[in-house]
């Protein structure tokens, strides 16, 4: 091998505390180093040209650049050596800026340490092998999991971009949380009026296949070629025949079931279409309450259905969808307010969540848009809103801010005033988080124009007194205790990861945080990517988000999918594990520990062997440290490479 070493000054960033000339000169003493020089800015155009020229002039077959972190410029230099005709993996970096020059001023020690870092880079490079990516075809279909506003947006953007889209929704209708909202902040426009058309677009788009009342059962494959098993849950109604006329709902004798769409503040029938704008507008039977199932006899809906769509014998069905990319847009769920006993949620009917309040405000809600409190149907006059219920609370293991509660509470105080002009809203808050466009103005309007009284402080307890609820709390600005007699208490319940999110993450082989929110690839620079190639995120499944953010992410994820699908063939990252079939004893320990299911068992001349699925392997190397005989080696981070680095540091 003929190695060239380039030691970067980075202006004075490195040269200020490292003698790069000495580092370069010392590097010449290392094995197989035939050229070494210091350079002003290795990453600059002249710097890169210098490297390329040296590769050509000196017939270099490998390059070490000692400069900044490889997390910054490794791709830059790899492209440069590739332009000079080398394989881009015949390159190593020594990080002598972030790890040396910037963290100490002792020039002697820094120079010495830089030499060591170059030494291990050289030793590693000596054991590098050219890696060549392989190509594979892409199935240009995309699956969107979750039909909330983020998923709808992603589906529509992908479909408009010409892709075939499979949209999977757990409930019987798409729409998600947004469909339950009455109005949206800060414009106070009607939620279903702006969402409805998009839902209809989904239903009518020729490129979109919708699997409602369905869940993802299993996922296999890899970017470009996933196989997803979708479980279509039994609706007991043949949706091919159902016209959504609603005759069944009118006649259904089981009418007192908690209406999930209405956040259980109203009743619904066992056979149900959740709301008038539902997409698809099809009925389904809740078998846990339906008399036909519970008691074994009824059959009313079957009798009244004009198209004969009722199928009591229907069972769950698994369909397999082949797709090339997946967008997870599974949204969020609400914090269970009954967990804070002192607020009385779950005990007092007039302590409700903000989303329940949305249903009370909504014209299509159980009260027809009239605010009537659940206990007695009376119109409340004094309404207390409590912020941060299950948000920003370490004691509940919910230290994060749910983000949108401040804004929707402000909106709800405004709507309350609109509905009941002689009402008074009180808001107990910790801080007001209103950083969006027109957001702060909006909260100010709630206070200044609509007279909502904002009280900075926490509520200690809520207790009933007659038909009222006493809300006792602190006003930390006034430094006093306050007690408010409320007719209705609305809790701004925090956002939590959707139920089943961790299980889905495991199927998708993506990471999730301790709260169950999915992990993006990089919090700043890769917000909708995940660490599994071909799987993207949109909306609140990644963390609490408001509507514009969710829509933005839906579009962003769609853009990522469209970019991915802009190529007919994909290249796999060649920095993956490889099995030495002669050494493998087929014990399968690598298969057990691979987080990506990227290793499979194969038969080779009658013996069990492990085989890496190139396109699935992500290059973590867990298999390599698991295999006792070192038969599976992660390219570019082989045992011998790391041992050579260790030896270089220990023996020198």
């Amino acid at each position: 091998m003929r190695i060239g070493v380039f030691v970067c000054h980075c202006g004075s960033n490195i040269e200020g505390t490292v003698d790069t000339g000495i580092v370069a000169k010392t590097a010449l003493d290392f094995p197989e180093v035939v050229f070494a020089t210091d350079t002003m800015y290795a990453c600059s155009e002249p710097g890169q040209d210098g490297i390329i020229q040296a590769i050509k002039d000196k017939n270099l077959t490998g390059v070490v650049v000692a400069s900044c972190t490889p997390r910054m410029h490794e791709p830059t230099f790899r492209r440069a050596v590739e332009r000079a005709g080398l394989n881009r993996f015949m390159f190593e970096m020594a990080n002598i800026r972030e790890h040396v020059s910037w963290i100490g001023k002792d020039r002697e020690a820094n120079t010495n340490k830089s030499v060591d870092l170059v030494r291990i880079a050289v030793e590693k490079l000596r054991r590098d092998a050219p890696l060549i990516p392989s190509k594979f075809s892409v199935n240009k279909r995309v699956m969107i999991i979750g039909g909330g506003v983020a998923g709808i947006q992603a589906a529509l953007d992908c479909a408009d971009g010409g892709l075939e889209v499979v949209l999977v929704e757990r409930d019987s209708s798409i729409g998600g949380k947004m469909a339950k909202l009455d109005k949206t902040f800060p414009t106070v426009d009607c939620s279903s009026c702006i969402l409805g058309p998009k839902m209809v677009d989904v239903a009518q788009h020729p490129n979109i296949t919708l699997h409602a009342y369905s869940e993802v059962d299993a996922i296999s494959g890899y970017v470009g070629n996933f196989q997803v098993q979708v479980k279509k849950k039994a609706t007991y109604v043949d949706w091919e025949l159902c016209t959504g006329c609603g005759a069944c709902m009118e006649k259904c004798p089981s009418k007192k079931n908690p209406d999930v769409f209405n956040e259980k503040i109203g009743p619904c029938t066992s056979i149900n279409i959740p709301f008038p704008q539902a997409i698809p507008k099809k009925a389904y039977i809740d078998a846990t309450t339906c008399r036909q199932f519970v008691k074994g006899k009824c059959g009313v809906c079957a009798k009244v259905c004009p198209t004969g769509a009722i199928r009591y014998d229907m069972t769950d069905e698994i369909v397999t969808e082949d797709v090339g990319a997946i967008v997870a847009a599974t949204g969020y769920d609400l914090f269970d307010i009954s967990k804070i006993a002192e607020y009385g949620g779950g005990r007092y009917p007039d302590v409700i969540t903000g989303l329940q309040y949305e249903r009370l405000l909504s014209a299509s809600g159980p009260t027809g848009g009239h605010i009537k409190r659940p206990s007695d149907g009376k119109e409340p006059k004094n309404i207390v809103f409590i912020q941060c219920v299950g948000s920003r609370d370490k004691s509940l293991d919910r230290p994060y801010c749910s983000g949108f509660c401040c804004m929707y509470t402000a909106k709800q105080t405004i709507l309350t005033k609109d509905h009941i002009p002689d009402s008074q809203s009180y808001v107990f808050y910790m801080d007001i988080r209103a950083p969006g466009k027109m957001y702060d103005e909006f909260t100010r309007r709630a206070m200044e124009e609509y007279g909502a009284r904002y009280i900075r402080g926490r509520v200690a307890m809520v207790y009933p007194k007659g038909d009222k609820l006493m809300v006792r709390g602190a006003d930390t600005l006034a430094g006093t205790q306050v007690e408010i007699e409320a007719d209705l208490v609305v809790l701004a319940a925090g956002a939590e990861a959707a139920k089943g999110a961790p299980q889905l993450a495991e199927k998708l082989r993506i990471s999730y945080d301790k709260y169950g929110f999915f992990m993006e690839s990089h919090p700043k620079l890769k917000p909708v990517e995940t660490n599994t190639a071909g799987v993207y995120l949109a909306g609140s499944c990644q963390g609490p988000k408001d509507i514009p953010q969710s829509v933005g992410q839906g579009s962003a994820a769609a853009a990522k999918v469209l970019a991915l699908f802009s190529k007919d063939m994909l290249e796999s990252d060649p920095q993956i594990s490889r099995v030495d079939i002669k050494r493998c004893v087929g014990c399968g320990k690598c298969i057990m520990t691979c987080p990506f299911k990227a290793i499979k068992e194969v038969e080779f001349r009658g013996q069990k062997k492990a085989e890496v699925i190139e396109t699935v392997c992500q290059g973590c190397g867990i298999c390599t440290s698991t295999c006792p005989q070192g038969a599976i080696q992660l390219s570019h981070f082989t045992d011998n490479q790391i041992l050579a680095e260790v030896n270089a540091l220990c023996q020198s």
Binding site: D580, V585, C587, M592, G630, D639
Partner: protein, 323 residues
Amino acid sequence: MSRLEELKTRIREALPGLECVIGWQQGYDALHNTPLFMRSDADVDKLTWGVLNVHNPAVYLPTMAGKKVGVVVKGCDSRSVVELLQEKLIDRDNVVIFAAGCDGVVDLTKVKAKLAAAGVSAGNAEKVATDGKTVSVTAGGQTVAMPLAEVCADKCLRCQFPNAVLADVFVGDPAPQPTPNPTGNADLDALDAMSVDDRMAFWRYHMDRCIRCYACRNACPMCVCRDHCIAQSREPHWLSQEDSVTEKLMFQVVHAMHLAGRCTECGECQRACPMDIPVLALKKHLNRTIHDLFNYQAGVDVAAIPPLLQFKLEEDNIKERGW
């Protein structure tokens, strides 16, 4: 019928369907038994059962994969079979496990020491007699009687499973559960009592005479890499072939770490060592760690997953240090 006779009967019955059945027979002298591969009724006649069956026959099973074989096991040996099954290194359908209650086996090093103390050379052993409590060895015309408890293997002093944890054919009455005897852990206790520096000297002292024969590894039923062990490969190149203490010790670290959570403490590594190096202590120590950390013991549950091949999101017993 004695355990032995019943074993023989049952093995003879099963033999026609099996490649062979692995057991023990008398070896080159009265004191040394040796593994027996029974392929005929005449072979079965040679089978022995008793305190001299020191070897763990499970070691042969992975090398016979694909063939249907029988194996006669002591309680401890059966744990190795369980572990091999658990790791899918052998196929349950291809192994027939014959077992009987075990009253313990000798540690030949202890027997030789007893003989030496009596001025008798173990190299002249002529006859060995046992009655379950005492072992009497006749050598050079002299008979030395020694209590089994004083010459049995350390593992027997701490035996939890005198009867196989898994068997297809179990003959005779189960052996009674012995009372644990703390002297079975004397080796580890001694190391525990040393300072860290003394332990380094201890290993330096002992590893110096290691001849790198890898008997410890090859006698280990869980060392399934065998021909592909990283101790003797260049790719990867973990060890050089130099006769240095660091290389020799590093191999023991490799062996021990590769056994972490898999070792059943059968003690074959140490028993096999021709240089009497106390290598088992390292594995005992690791087993104790594995037990403390993961409340896990290898070789008792075919369905278990070795603790280092799995994890918990929140570990019960691992606490991160503060900075």
